[in-house]
């Protein structure tokens, strides 16, 4: 069993209106000094069996084609745990 985590964030130059709304709410609710909030997505993918080379490659491809849109988003992919 392997678990892979993919984090997807808007690129720094892309306006994040949702993050901005959250920032306003945090400030309204008493948190001082909120300089910026960016909202992203986290995917936790559990895979049966071992993450071999082939599946790792497919996963990387799909992270770029499906999970993230590289026009506006960056992503990072990491293998969190592997159990035989």
């Amino acid at each position: 069993m392997a678990r892979v985590v993919v984090d997807v964030m808007l690129k720094p130059e892309i306006l994040d209106p949702q993050g901005r709304a959250v920032q306003a709410a945090l400030t309204r609710l008493g948190l001082t000094g909120v300089a910026d909030v960016r909202q992203g997505k986290r995917f936790e993918i559990s895979l049966d069996g071992v993450l071999d080379e082939d599946r790792n490659e497919t996963l990387n491809t799909l992270a770029a084609e499906l999970l993230a849109n590289p026009v506006i988003e960056d992503y990072s992919l990491r293998i969190e745990e592997t159990q035989e």
Partner: protein, 227 residues
């Protein structure tokens, strides 16, 4: 014989019925296509309508672009098939790579639903040739994620090549870059736009008039001419 124009229905499509009707009003034979179909059959043009395909999960259009029928639509578009994407259809065409850029959450975070004044910026593409240069038209907009975003290089290229088909006038409802409401591909056979031409095809009902009918008539008349 009138040309056959396909309209794709995805799970969550909303405006497919109105679009089929608009195709008929423009003098073509409307053909319903299903997202799970592997082919588009013998249609001479395809419209990807508005709605919330696959619930807009992940990103608008991100899952729909991988629907079986989209391979045929993309292949056809690359061979010159006229393809129109309206609202969610525009989002799907961007995600599929037929059009550059992407549609993001409205700057205001509000869903907008109103009649919108537009300037026509392109009158020689498959779907816009019925308009006159700099014509002002009114179409309804209704979307929460219609803010067109692309890098500066792409925006400059679109402007230089005359591919900005429509821009918002007076007010920009979503904060789109350079007031862009619709763009075409390089060859001009693919158009994507956020406003809804299919909701403005007759003066009797609905909204602002019949300015939207010209989009459908533009494509249909050239299909008739080529038969």
């Amino acid at each position: 014989m009138s040309p056959r124009v396909g309209v794709v229905t995805f799970p969550g499509s909303l405006d497919d019925s109105d679009t089929l009707r608009a195709v008929m009003a423009a003098g073509a034979e409307p053909v319903s296509l299903w997202h799970g179909d592997p082919s588009i059959g013998d249609v001479a043009a395809v419209v990807v309508p508005g709605g919330f395909s696959y619930g807009d999960y992940l990103r608008c259009g991100a899952i729909a672009r991988f629907a079986p029928i989209m391979s045929a639509v993309v292949a056809g578009a690359r061979d010159g098939l006229p393809v129109l994407g309206i609202c969610n259809g525009f989002q799907i065409l961007c995600e599929s790579g037929l059009l550059p850029g992407v549609l993001t959450r409205n700057e205001s975070l509000h869903y907008v639903c109103k009649d919108q004044s537009l300037a026509v910026g392109n009158t020689d593409s498959a779907w816009t040739r019925g308009y006159t240069a700099d014509q002002v038209i009114v179409l309804p907009v209704k979307h929460g994620e219609g803010r067109y975003v692309a890098d500066e290089h792409t925006l400059d290229m679109l402007a230089a090549e005359g591919r900005v088909a429509f821009t918002y006038r007076n007010t920009n409802p979503n904060g789109s870059f350079r007031d862009i409401a619709g763009i075409t591909n390089e060859a001009g056979n693919v158009l994507g736009l956020m406003p809804h031409p299919e909701h403005a095809i007759e003066t009797l009902v609905g909204t602002p008039g019949a300015d939207g009918l010209t989009i459908f008539e533009s494509a249909v008349s050239s299909l008739v001419a080529s038969v």
